[in-house]
Symmetry: C2
Subunit: 247 residues, 2 copies
């Protein structure tokens, strides 16, 4: 296999898809070309092919959005197909018992990636949405995922603890002690570390082999509830997810 | 623009992604090459590039699965980002009132594509899952979507009414009369037309401009409930989705 200086067509197609993100879900041709680092004519041609397959669509303003067919293909990923499907019934039970946000997340590199969130009209508004990554050090699910992450991931995260609120843990030593506690007690809490007015309680979710593969959390308005009393319910829900994943 | 006899690299990449579907979410290299109509060596090279970007991943058996990054990009599609997010709180309310399956679907060509489903441990098992298409003539959401579909779509569907159970409507005239009734009364019902033991009640969901863009349904075990009594609740939920989509 020879190496080439020019990026392959495949990598150009992927760089077009990669131009879309949570903050930029609708893009013009020139924004896509810019972000993907492609000439406008190349971006235009590739977008035409992607559009013909419904991988992208045009909205009423003529801007490009991710298409329904790509969404459909994405739902086949194990994280959506297996973890999400195994989690939903237990998450529903937790939601009904609390009417708070119920979330499940996995680790993606040094971030927590939300796979599913259940919430109702009375739940406190939160930033998470399926597919959205959030920092690990400031979220309950993130602390749990970090507590069971490989050492090199922990090292990378604790070297750059960015403050998000004035309660975010930003000292390396304090975070390492907190992670040790999380491992020992089997749950993590946050109090306004990601956003003022919200706090969370999170537990690990193991796969059939006993590996921590996800974290399940309740997120509520500060002071609204004694979150600790839901720890047994969270643990029961987590065990039920593990059982369903083994199937 | 010149036309070429050989498929473009983009179309080959897309044909690889298109090889995965609900029945085949895990594929070997040769299965992918076969389905995509590519030489094994070409499929292998393109899969390598897709894997480097996390568009595909290998499972423990070495088979390919859709990757987490493609799932993440897919969640940016308006159908997931806007319709699903607008629907979830109202769907939660319906679920809590019924503990039955609550589903929302859109039309994709001549099929009903499920966008979201809420269900719990006591809900009757159903075939729908987000991203999965089901026939329109045998499902409640499908009949609603068909009742407001363009004439050419209706024509295509009623020409091929495949029986799924012995209660599936397979006569063109009867289906056309049923669709007229759905338009007039504003809801659709099915009774064991898609599967023995389940029935459904579905209403249209309009966007801010008044177009029917989706259908919301309850699916329950036959005889378990008088589904009709939930019609007002379904309509309130549908109106609340419309309001949230307008935001």
């Amino acid at each position: 296999m020879g190496s080439t200086a020019r990026p392959s067509v495949t990598s150009r197609v992927l760089s077009i898809l990669g131009a879309f993100d949570e903050r930029n879900p609708r893009l013009t041709l020139s924004e896509i070309a810019d972000t993907a680092g492609l000439p406008v004519s190349t971006a235009h041609r590739l977008l035409g092919e992607l559009q013909a397959w419904d991988a992208v669509e045009r909205d009423t303003d003529g801007r490009y959005v991710i298409g329904r067919r790509l969404w459909k293909v994405g739902t086949l990923a194990p994280v959506a197909r297996e973890l999400r499907e195994a989690s939903l019934p237990a998450m529903q039970d937790l939601y009904e018992a609390t009417h708070e946000n119920v979330q499940i997340a996995v680790r993606e590199g040094t971030q927590a990636l939300y796979v599913e969130r259940i919430h109702g009209k009375s739940s406190v508004p939160v930033l998470s949405r399926p597919g959205v990554p959030l920092p690990m050090h400031a979220t309950g699910v993130g602390k749990v995922l970090l507590a069971w992450a490989p050492r090199e991931v922990v090292e990378e995260v604790v070297e750059g603890l960015r403050p998000i609120t004035r309660y975010t843990i930003t000292e390396r030593g304090r975070m390492l002690r907190e992670l040790a506690t999380v491992r020992r007690v089997g749950y993590a809490r946050t109090t306004e570390e990601m956003g003022y007015g919200t706090c969370s309680l999170a537990v690990p979710v193991q796969d059939a082999a006993g590996e921590v593969v996800a974290s399940l959390a309740l997120v509520t308005r500060t002071g609204r509830r004694d979150l600790a009393k839901f720890l047994p319910a969270l643990r029961v829900a987590s065990a039920s997810i593990t059982r369903r994943m083994g199937v």
